[in-house]
Every structure is written in structure tokens, then in C-alpha cells.
């Protein structure tokens, strides 16, 4: 039994209760913050993964719709470009799906599991709180009797009260001790638990972007005009649009 417990036995003063409570609060606070963060991280990861999948599918739709347009059949070179684009997008989508699956297994699921421990922990803390209330109540009852004159009936009541108190006190102490033991351990366990998740997150992205680089370098070589800066591209676009606007068949507002 640690010093605090012994003190509890000897002097059941309010101050000691308060100190015990503060220690407990501090540990529990950390866990509540952790719970909050875990939930938020889980939510955010899910949201960003969904957006990621949607983006990839949208890209596939871009190329797919273009390819299925009979426009492509008008020109062989255009058809080849669109086919290349479509293939690239589909490949990227499959890599993306793989990435998402890996992240699901190694990050999102563990996050969820970790969150699911908190209800039990919170319930245990509640039970401890109940036990504490019972303890305080019975403790004050004992103290009340201890202050009275020591008549026979009072002694008997005092002993009864002490008897009632004892299992409750032991219950509280065991709950308190166990929680004070478990809470810091659990808090610390997050490091080992989540380290693989973070590494997996990074690794999955490395793989994905490496593939993206390969696929799109090839594609760009094939379908894009080289040696253009953004400014040049913008100027070219603008020039073509102006040419179009110059046509009489195009309405000018």
C-alpha cells in the first residue's frame, strides 16, 4: 500500500480526500484528452480517406467519359492520348484503393479499437466514484459515532458502522489503486500502439506518390507539350480562346 493509502487510514480528513482526488483527476484528465483526440483523429482520417477515394474516382470519370465520347474516333492521335490518360487514371485509382485499404487496416481500425476501450474505462471511473461516495458517506457515519459518548449501544453502532465501512472502503481502495495503476499504463501504451500506424500512414503514401510519379511522368511525356511554364500555358490558352472569339459564329457579348 502506498503512503497515500496509509494516510487515508490514519487521518480521514477532507484534505487527504482532496489530494487523492487531485492525483486521480490529473491522470483521468489526460485520458479524457486522449479519448477526445483519438475520436477526432478517427473522424478526420475517415473523412479525408473518403475524400481521397472520391477524388480518385472523379479522375477516372474524367478520362472514362472522354474516352467513351465518339470524338476520340475522329482522330487516331487523340484516341491514343485519351487511351493513355484513361489507363493512367485507372492504374492510379487501383493504387489509391490499395493505399486506402492499407491505411484502413493499419490506422483507422486500430484507432477505432483504441477508442472502444474508453467506455469501459469511463464506466470503471464512474464505479469508483460511486464507491468513493459510499465510502465518504459511511466514513462520516463512523466519525459521527466516534464523536459520541462511548455508551454500549453507541459502541455497538460504531462497530456496525465500522463493519459496514470496511468492505466499502476496501472496494474503493482496490478500485482506486487499480485505476491509478492502469490509467498511466494505458496512457503510455498509446506510443507503442500507434507508432506502427504512423509509420504505415507515411509508407503507404510514399508508395502511392512514387507510383504516381512514374505513371504521370510517362503519360506527360506522351501527351503533353514539353518545355512549357505555367505562364506560357496560360498565354497559349488565352491565345486560342481569343482566336475562337474572333470567329463570327461565336457570339460576342
Amino acid at each position: 500500500m502506498n503512503t497515500k493509502m496509509i494516510m487515508l487510514h490514519l487521518t480521514m480528513s477532507f484534505n487527504v480526500f482532496l489530494q487523492v482526488e487531485r492525483d486521480f483527476e490529473r491522470e483521468y484528465d489526460k485520458l479524457q484528452k486522449l479519448e477526445d483526440q483519438t475520436k477526432k483523429l478517427h473522424k478526420d482520417m475517415k473523412k479525408s480517406t473518403e475524400a481521397d477515394i472520391a477524388m480518385s474516382k472523379a479522375a477516372v470519370k474524367i478520362s472514362g467519359d472522354l474516352l467513351s465520347n465518339p470524338l476520340c474516333e475522329q482522330d487516331q492521335a487523340f484516341l491514343e492520348s485519351m487511351t493513355a490518360l484513361d489507363t493512367a487514371m485507372k492504374r492510379m485509382d487501383s493504387f489509391n484503393q490499395e493505399k486506402v485499404n492499407q491505411i484502413s487496416k493499419t490506422v483507422i481500425d486500430p484507432l477505432k479499437k483504441y477508442s472502444s476501450v474508453f467506455p469501459s474505462l469511463n464506466m470503471a471511473v464512474k464505479r469508483r466514484e460511486q464507491a468513493l461516495q459510499d465510502y465518504k458517506r459511511l466514513q462520516s457515519k463512523v466519525e459521527k459515532y466516534e464523536e459520541k459518548e462511548k455508551t454500549g449501544p453507541i459502541m455497538v453502532k460504531l462497530h456496525q458502522a465500522r463493519e459496514e465501512l470496511r468492505p466499502v472502503r476496501e472496494d474503493f481502495e482496490s478500485k482506486n489503486k487499480q485505476l491509478l495503476d492502469e490509467m498511466p499504463k494505458f496512457y503510455h501504451s498509446r506510443i507503442d500502439y500507434f507508432q506502427p500506424s504512423f509509420e504505415a500512414l507515411i509508407r503507404a503514401q510514399v508508395v502511392y506518390f512514387t507510383e504516381m510519379h512514374n505513371i504521370f511522368s510517362e503519360l506527360t511525356d506522351q501527351i503533353d507539350q514539353a518545355g512549357l511554364t505555367d505562364e506560357q500555358r496560360e498565354r497559349e490558352n488565352e491565345a486560342k480562346l481569343n482566336e475562337l472569339r474572333a470567329l463570327s459564329i461565336v457570339a460576342d457579348d
Partner: protein, 728 residues
């Protein structure tokens, strides 16, 4: 021996205080209430004080963290500069001494001098003696230093980062030659023994990492700074400037890449064919098509239609394609924005000391704060905007085509007439004009639109390539920091999945522990009412059928009972009338009904009755409190008592006393036959009466002495412990 009959029980002088409430004014209950009401008041003020203390603690912690973050910036800068200098001076000169000479060694170190210079200047501004990190003005100094140097930082780093690919390429070429590379590694290791470097790029990648880290370091400082701080807005500005510098550096990098490529000679590819493609060639193609059809059919008016129909058909396909593409691109951009709105890197689970968590945070922050936003911006400028403009331009031709059709119908009606009226002539002319106009210009339109589209798709591809390139360069900075990055993919995923499984197991054990220990019901002695009930139930059903409720139950259906936790019941049937084993029929000592079996646990009882000791008869008469027979409930899981213990023999040599006698009051012995008592002392009663048989006095043994004491000074209390030392 004198009989001390005249003594204590009667005289007020030594008489024990009568068992009346001796509290002066308040009844005990009121007194307790007052104490309790004082306690909340104490409570509230204590709580307020406690909250103040907590708030102060929080503010101190934040200040502490801010200081740590600031110091980290300086400390890491210093370390970074030192390592760069080691690399440039020591390692470089040692490498130069290698024989045979390393080709192109100097180009590895091409732009690093400027980076070292600007880093040194930053450090000197931060590291001066007048204002230290503890000084509140330091934040301002930090921001000013950074902002004043940001242009120089940008110019130094942009050259370095643009050139970095050549550095990696060059190092790879060195790696190809095994003996050379081993020599190099030896030199590196010996030049910087305290650093665990296995390549030159270990040092040379540092500027790449460093420039990306500035925004994060500044943001961490900002996170722990109170918005009310005088330098807060300046700090915000600096953090934004750091992000902007990174954006511009990446842009410049791309610009240089493109410019460099352009200088190289290219081979003719489909790309070049596209360059050659323009509106004229498409017009030619459609004209060719119409010519072909003309030849095939030979019917003039219809041929004109065929040509026009081809153009029209192409136009509609184009229109459709552009509209669909426009929508798809908008969907794509909306998902991109949703992705950017998530901030998973903000929830680091307080693991800011762990390498993987830090790396993840930095990578995600870089992706979300400047790499993806740049991608989005370029998408909008190079794809979305021109697409919107193009879509608008489709309106004109479309309307004109419809008008032509209307005019055609009008024209067909009057076509055959030999002579046309003035109005009819006008109609014919209108049709012919529109028709010719469209025939001339639609090919141009179609061609230009198609080229535009093609260009946009090319840009789309290029944007993805640049995005991936940026991320790859970012990752290079982190590769060496992660413990498992050297593992092959399969090995890595195996390790990751194993760790995840292990983690899940750990959690399961924890959950189980918590649930098991903390949900056990409390062991409580029974009240007399419960005692009676228990006896009745045991008599009726047998002690094997007695169960206890582990939790409250509230009856929801007919014949369901509502009972409290700890109540005792006897099982009548372990299933209900429908055979459901989860509802058991119980007798609750009166009512009968169903309770869920999950809330029942076997109740073990000690059924030894305390022997009728002589003490009992004495005290039952005098003590108002009375004596209770308790049956104690030992911890349900640990003990199991056999229900039938033999009744002990009724002699003085009892082996299982369940009661203990204590001194209820102080008593001073006034003769040698008496023995003194102190309140609360445990006493052993030898004879509950004196030599004359009077029950007013008892012969007791206390503290190894024997003597008589007034019987009503004794208190009999049931003991809680299991059978103790026997009386002899």
C-alpha cells in the same frame, strides 16, 4: 471480600453517562447537516481556488511549451548549420584527397554555400546575448529576424532545391562503383564520427528538410502562444510567410525543370504530332471527309448536307465532351477541397516526442499547406478556367446551327420555284449565308476547341507529375528517420499488421481486466431484515438455491420483478415457461417472478449460528442496541463454505466466538478484586456474575489481569473476522 454492591451502577459520581444524547444544542442529525453544509461552502471556495491554481498551472505549462518550441528552433538551426559546415569543409576536403579523383565532386556542393550563409545570418540574429528566449521581447526578435531574411532564404534555397535532383543523380552514379563508394562512406564516417551518416545525401538533404520545417516550427510556437501576446500577429505573419516561401520555391523549381528540359534535344513522339496539329489540319480532315462522300454519292444538295452534317456531328460531340468534362473537373475539385479541409495532423495524440508521429505531422502539414494548394491553384488556372470559358463559347455556334436548320426548312419549300419573290429571295439568301458561314468557320472552331481540350488534359497530367515529384522530394527528407523505412514492402506490411494485431490483443486484455475487477459486487453484511428473509428462503428452498442480484433490475414484462442490487432470492426454475434460459423464475421472499439470469450470482452463506454465550443474556437485557446475529457474506468468488458446519458444543470451551467484548467505559479498580478498564479494550469474560451470583458484576480478564468489573460497563460487539483464536 466486600461485595461492591453499593458501588457504581447507581451512584452518579462514577456512573457511566446514561445512554442519552449528550450533545448540547443540536441533534446529531442537524449537527451533521451543518457540517455538511459548511463543507460545500468550503468546497466551493476550495474549488474556485483549485480552479485558479489549475488555470495558472495551464498558463505556466503553455509558457513552458512555448519556450521549449522557441528554443528548439534555435537549437535545431544551430545543429543544422554545424552539420552543414562539417559536410562542406571537413568531408569535402577529405573526399577531395581521395585517389582516384571523384568526378564532378564540386557540383555536389554547388549551392550549399549560400544556404550556409543565410542560415548563419539567421542564427546570429537569433543568438545574440541581449535578448534571450526567456525575454518576452524575444518572440518579436525572432519574427523580425525571419521576415527580414525571408527573401534571402528564398533565393538561397530555391537554387539549392532546384539543383538537388542532380545531387542525388550524381550520388547514385558514385554508388554504382562499389570500391569507390565504400571509400567515400569510410571518409564520411571518419570525418563525422558522432553522426551516424552512411552517405553524402544524409547531409545534403538537410536543407530540403529544413526549409519545410520552418512553417511547422513557427506554427508550434504559435500554438502555445496566447493570442493576447503583443507579438502574436507578427508571429502569424511570419508563419504565413514561411509557407509562402515554400510555395514560391516549389514554383521556381518547376520553372527550372521545364526550362532545362526544353534545352535538351527531343525525339519525335506523339507529343510532337500534337504540336503539329492545329485547326487547319482538322478542317482539312473534315473537308476531305465531305469530299469523299461527295464522290461516293454524287448528289449535290445532299452532299452539302453530308458535309455539314459531319461538321455538325463533330460539334455536338465536342459540346457534349466539354460539358461532361467541365462537370467532372468541378466534382474533382470539390473532393479535393474536402480533402484539404481535414486536418488529421493536428491530432497527434500527444505523441510529439515520437519520430513517426513527428514525421507524419510534417509530411501532412506540407501536403496540406502548400503542396496540394498549389496543385489546386494550377488546376483551376490551367484546366478549370479555360474549360469554363470554352463552354461559354459553345453557345454561339449552337444557336447558329439551329437557326440554319430553321432557315433550311424555309428554303426547301421555295427551292423548286422557278422564280422567287423578293421576300423568298431574302429567305434563300439568309439560309445560304448562314450555311456558308458555318461551313467555313465550324472546322476552325472544332479544331481549336479540340486542341484546347488536348492541351488541358496534358496540363492535367503534368500537374499530377509535379505533385508526385514534390511529395517525393519531401519524403526524401524523412526516409532515414523512420525506424522501419528500410524494410522491403512485404516485410514492412507484415510487421505493421502484426503490430496492429498485438495492439488489439493488448487492448482486449486491458478491457477485460478493467471489467472484471471493477464490476465485482461489494461484499456487505446483511441487515436483520435480509437475515430473516434469507433464513426464510433457505428454509423453504435450501441454501443451494439462494442467489444474489449483482445489479438493479427493472421488470419490463408481465411477471418480471423489479429488484435492487444485493437482494437475495431463491431460484425456482432456471428458465421461463417458453424455455428461455435467460429468464429465471425466482422467489424474492414474497413476490415471485422473473429476473434476468445474467444478474444473478450464487450466494454462499456461513450458516453457523453463534453459540449462545452467557454474555448474550447479560447484554440483551441491558444494552439498548441489542445484539445482532450476522451471517457474513465472504467474497463470493474466493470462498466457498460448506453449508452445514456442526454446531459447537455449548461449553465454555467455545471454539468459534462471533462476538467480542470490549470495555464500554473507563473504570478504576478500587480494590484488589477489581480490575481497571479503559474504554475500547478487548476483554475476556470469565464469569458473567460475581461470587454471589449477582449479574451486576462480571469476572473478566484484561491485560493479563483478572478481576471484577461492572457488567454494564461491558459492550458486546459482533466480530467481523472469520473464526479467531478459540477460548480455552
Amino acid at each position: 471480600m466486600e461485595s461492591p454492591v453499593r458501588a457504581e451502577p447507581a451512584t452518579p459520581t462514577l456512573a457511566p453517562p446514561a445512554p442519552r444524547n449528550h450533545t448540547p444544542s443540536l441533534s446529531p442529525r442537524a449537527e451533521a447537516k451543518e457540517k455538511r453544509s459548511e463543507a460545500p461552502a468550503e468546497d466551493a471556495s476550495e474549488k474556485a481556488a483549485a480552479e485558479e491554481v489549475a488555470a495558472k498551472e495551464r498558463a505556466e505549462r503553455e509558457a513552458q511549451r512555448q519556450l521549449l518550441a522557441t528554443e528548439e528552433l534555435i537549437y535545431t538551426e544551430r545543429n543544422y548549420l554545424r552539420l552543414l559546415q562539417v559536410c562542406t569543409c571537413t568531408i569535402r576536403s577529405n573526399l577531395q584527397k581521395l585517389q582516384p579523383q571523384l568526378p564532378n565532386l564540386d557540383s555536389m556542393f554547388l549551392y550549399i554555400e549560400e544556404v550556409i550563409d543565410v542560415s548563419g545570418r539567421l542564427l546570429s540574429l537569433l543568438d545574440q546575448k541581449q535578448v534571450t528566449p526567456h525575454d518576452p521581447l524575444f518572440l518579436e526578435t525572432l519574427c523580425d529576424a525571419f521576415l527580414s531574411l525571408s527573401t534571402d532564404i528564398e533565393s538561397a534555397y530555391k537554387e539549392y532545391l532546384s539543383n538537388y535532383n542532380t545531387v542525388t543523380a550524381l550520388e547514385n552514379s558514385y554508388k554504382q562503383k562499389e570500391p569507390l563508394w565504400t571509400e567515400m562512406v569510410k571518409v564520411i564516417k571518419s570525418s563525422a564520427p558522432e553522426v551516424n551518416a552512411t552517405s553524402l545525401s544524409f547531409f545534403l538533404v538537410m536543407p530540403v528538410q529544413r526549409i519545410a520545417r520552418y512553417p511547422l516550427l513557427l506554427q508550434t510556437i504559435m500554438k502555445h502562444t496566447d493570442p493576447g501576446h503583443p507579438a502574436y500577429s507578427l508571429l502569424e505573419q511570419t508563419a504565413h510567410a514561411a509557407v509562402a516561401v515554400n510555395c514560391r520555391i516549389n514554383e521556381y523549381k518547376r520553372f527550372r525543370e521545364v526550362a532545362d528540359k526544353y534545352k535538351k534535344t527531343e525525339t519525335l513522339t506523339i507529343r510532337d504530332k500534337i504540336n503539329r496539329l492545329n485547326s487547319h489540319s482538322i478542317a482539312k480532315k473534315t473537308a476531305r471527309l465531305s469530299q469523299f462522300i461527295k464522290h461516293e454519292t454524287g448528289i449535290a444538295p445532299k452532299l452539302v448536307d453530308e458535309e455539314f452534317d459531319a461538321l455538325e456531328g463533330f460539334f455536338y460531340l465536342l459540346e457534349n465532351g466539354i460539358a461532361v468534362l467541365h462537370e467532372n473537373v468541378e466534382t474533382y475539385l470539390s473532393h479535393l477541397q474536402r480533402f484539404l479541409s481535414c486536418r488529421p495532423e493536428e491530432f497527434d495524440l500527444d505523441m510529439d516526442g515520437e519520430k513517426p508521429a513527428i514525421c507524419y505531422k510534417e509530411i501532412t502539414a506540407a501536403l496540406r499547406q502548400w503542396i496540394l494548394p498549389t496543385f489546386e491553384k494550377r488546376m483551376r488556372t490551367l484546366v478549370h478556367k479555360p474549360l469554363c470559358a470554352l463552354r461559354e463559347l459553345l453557345v454561339g455556334p449552337r444557336n447558329l446551327i439551329r437557326k440554319r436548320l430553321d432557315k433550311l426548312l424555309d428554303y426547301e419549300l421555295i427551292e423548286e420555284k422557278p422564280s422567287l419573290s423578293y421576300d423568298e429571295q431574302a429567305v434563300a439568301n439568309t439560309y445560304k449565308t448562314i450555311n456558308t458561314l458555318l461551313l467555313n468557320e465550324l472546322p476552325q472552331f472544332n479544331g481549336l476547341a479540340l486542341t484546347l481540350l488536348w492541351g488541358m488534359l496534358g496540363a492535367f497530367s503534368c500537374l499530377h507529375k509535379d505533385l508526385a515529384a514534390d511529395m517525393e522530394q519531401l519524403f526524401q527528407g524523412f526516409a532515414q528517420q523512420l525506424p522501419h523505412s528500410s524494410l522491403e514492402p512485404n516485410a514492412f506490411w507484415e510487421w505493421a499488421e502484426c503490430s496492429v494485431l498485438e495492439g488489439a490483443r493488448m487492448l482486449e486484455t486491458l478491457c477485460r481486466n478493467v471489467e472484471d475487477q471493477l464490476n465485482a459486487p461489494i461484499v456487505q453484511p446483511l441487515s436483520p431484515g435480509s437475515q430473516k428473509c434469507l433464513k426464510a428462503l433457505t428454509d423453504k428452498h435450501g441454501s443451494g438455491k439462494i442467489y444474489q442480484l449483482t445489479g438493479h433490475v427493472v421488470g419490463t414484462r408481465d411477471l418480471d420483478l423489479s429488484l435492487n442490487r444485493g437482494e437475495l432470492v431463491a431460484i425456482i426454475s432456471e428458465m421461463d415457461t417458453r424455455g428461455d434460459r435467460r429468464r429465471w423464475l425466482v422467489d424474492a421472499g414474497g413476490p415471485r417472478g422473473y429476473v434476468p439470469s445474467s444478474k444473478l450470482v450464487r450466494y454462499h452463506q456461513v450458516t453457523m449460528d453463534p453459540p449462545p454465550s452467557p454474555h448474550l443474556t447479560v447484554t440483551t437485557m441491558d444494552c439498548a442496541g441489542g445484539v445482532r446475529r450476522h451471517s457474513y457474506t465472504p467474497d463470493v468468488r474466493r470462498h466457498s463454505f460448506s453449508p452445514d458446519t456442526p454446531q459447537p458444543v455449548r461449553t465454555l470451551s467455545m471454539t468459534m466466538p462471533c462476538f467480542q467484548v470490549f470495555a464500554g467505559y473507563d473504570f478504576t479498580a478500587r480494590s484488589s478484586h477489581e480490575v481497571s478498564l479503559r474504554v475500547g479494550e478487548p476483554i475476556r469474560v470469565l464469569e458473567p456474575h460475581d461470587k454471589r451470583g449477582s449479574r451486576d458484576w462480571s469476572l473478566v480478564e484484561v491485560r493479563e489481569q483478572r478481576g471484577y468489573v461492572p457488567s454494564n460497563y461491558l459492550a458486546v460487539v459482533p466480530t467481523s473476522t472469520s473464526p479467531t483464536t478459540p477460548y480455552h
